[in-house]
């Protein structure tokens, strides 16, 4: 199953009340679970490109994940993490606190990278996967637009 089909499948499932969906055949197994936790998509098919998380825009187009494409496509270097809202970008939890992350730092999945604030609605942006910070695209306390790049990271 390629990414496009998988997308269609996820869309179909999320438009229903189904909270868990599993599909298994000879060479692949797909499991979609939703509801309580943030949506998790498990997609097992070695070798395969990682399914992209929604808050990460790819810097390069995704490699097709066809079963026939022999060697595993290496995870793309330099993925963008973009802002989900219009707001003010903060690198630290408080003005006198140390920044959440620095360039070169390796961060774990779920680790907070920054805060984007809009009208006292605070949005902590977390790493969706283990990665290394390649570039911090914004200065502290600067406005950011929706979809604007906040970090460039290298998935590990």
């Amino acid at each position: 199953m390629d990414i496009k089909d998988l997308k269609v499948l996820v869309k179909m499932v999320t438009e229903t009340d189904i909270t868990e969906f599993e599909l298994e055949n000879a060479d692949e197994k797909i499991r979609i679970k939703r509801g309580t936790a943030p949506e998790v998509i498990h997609y097992q098919q070695p070798p395969v490109a990682p399914v992209q998380f929604p808050s990460v825009q790819q810097a390069a187009p995704a490699a097709p994940a066809e079963a026939s494409s022999a060697p595993a496509p290496v995870a793309e270097k330099g993925q963008k993490i973009v802002s989900p809202i219009v707001g003010t970008f903060y690198r630290a939890p408080a003005p006198d606190a140390a920044p959440y992350v620095e360039v070169g730092q390796v961060v774990e999945k779920g680790q907070v990278l920054c805060i984007v604030e809009a009208m006292k609605l605070m949005n902590e942006i977390e790493a969706e996967f283990r990665c290394k910070i390649v570039k911090i695209c914004k200065e502290n306390a600067q406005p950011v637009e929706f979809g604007e790049c906040l970090f460039i990271v290298e998935p590990l």
């Binding site: 998380f53 989900p84 809202i85 219009v86 604030e117 809009a118 009208m119 006292k120 609605l121 605070m122």
Partner: protein, 336 residues
């Protein structure tokens, strides 16, 4: 039937406690016979007595009038989920109520519950907070037993860029609740501070979990200084602060305030889901009276001064700076 969480009781006891509280509330001050209660609740008279004893342990004063029955004399000073749930008749807000004696921050508890999938409308209330949160690392003074510290979980089907609108919804609900329970006039400062005669009474801080296109949930954090005394305020406050008690000279029943607040929030949220941001924005604008006022906005990267032109459809402050309009997304407003 709303479901609340009672600290010590199982679910059956909870439901019965709530029914008994509702009956006492409907027939305020009346003596109700044990027999009548037993018929209404479908339990034995001995069981009625046991439940009344249970309520007494929770701090309710219920007097037993010999050969006549029971009468509710007073509700406890402490916050009780059942007491709050009994006073609610809401559609969404308060579907689940969690009352805690003390926690670090109700926003943290609500955020965690939301991550675990708690139902929309879950309300977390604490009697005290050890690390009450303010904006960007600031703290919110949260002494025990006098104020309201609560957080509400919402799961609106709106894109993340629109979620800031909810900031305006919760502050309007707090302003309404103050005016419904006291003779005071609440004034809103952008985006969501509440002041009475220039002194800050309430602080609201919201947190969101979102993906690019989808809001997972929003936690609306609401702190209101209700019966706080002068000596309970920290000495190093950034702005003048006060409590409803200090402004009005009268103590306010916190359970009553919370019920009023949650009802107003429920109504505003229903309007928001049905009609969008328009009506909330209109009420916010009329309560804030900011239009045309000269103001300074202090942010981490500096200050700007201009004339306020209102707010846009995300709630951003529109500031006219010598004919050039700026959209302000964060900062502290001082009217000049």
């Amino acid at each position: 039937m709303k479901e609340g969480k009672l600290q010590t009781a199982d679910k059956g006891t909870q439901t019965l406690n709530r029914r008994i509280l509702e009956i006492f509330r409907e027939r305020k001050g009346e003596v109700i016979s044990g027999e009548e209660l037993s018929t209404m609740l479908g339990i034995s008279r001995t069981a009625v007595w046991k439940h009344v004893e249970g309520l007494r342990k929770l701090g309710y004063t219920v007097s037993a009038v010999p050969a006549k029955g029971y009468r509710m004399v007073a509700s406890p000073e402490r916050l009780v989920a059942d007491e709050i749930a009994a006073g609610l008749s809401t559609e969404r807000i308060g579907t689940r109520i969690v009352c805690l004696d003390e926690t670090d921050s109700t926003n943290n508890v609500a955020f965690r519950l939301a991550e675990e999938g708690t139902v929309e409308g879950t309300v977390v209330i604490a009697d005290a907070q050890s690390r009450g949160k303010g904006r960007l690392g600031r703290s919110w003074a949260s002494p025990k037993g006098v104020n309201l510290y609560c957080s509400v979980v919402l799961r609106p089907a709106v894109p993340p860029v629109a979620a800031s609108q909810l900031t305006f919804l919760s502050v309007v609900a707090v302003a309404r609740a103050i005016e419904l329970t006291t003779p005071l006039k609440a004034w809103i400062k952008w985006p969501n501070d509440i002041l009475i005669d220039g002194r800050k009474i309430a602080g609201l801080l919201n947190e969101m979990s979102a993906e690019t296109e989808k809001v997972n949930f929003v936690v609306l954090g609401i702190g209101v200084n209700i019966n706080m005394r002068r000596e309970q305020f920290p000495p190093d406050l950034r702005h003048p602060a006060s409590s409803l008690y200090l402004e009005n000279g009268e103590e306010l029943d916190r359970n009553r305030f919370i019920c009023t607040l949650l009802r107003e929030l429920d109504e505003l949220y229903a309007i928001y889901l049905r009609l969008g941001y328009g009506p909330v924005r209109e009420e916010w604008l009329s309560r804030s009276q900011l239009h045309g006022r000269k103001a300074r906005i202090d942010a981490q990267n500096g200050s700007v001064i201009g004339i306020i032109n209102g707010i846009d459809d995300m709630g951003a402050l529109l500031l006219d700076m010598d004919g050039r309009e700026e959209r302000i997304l964060s900062g502290d407003v001082t009217l000049l």
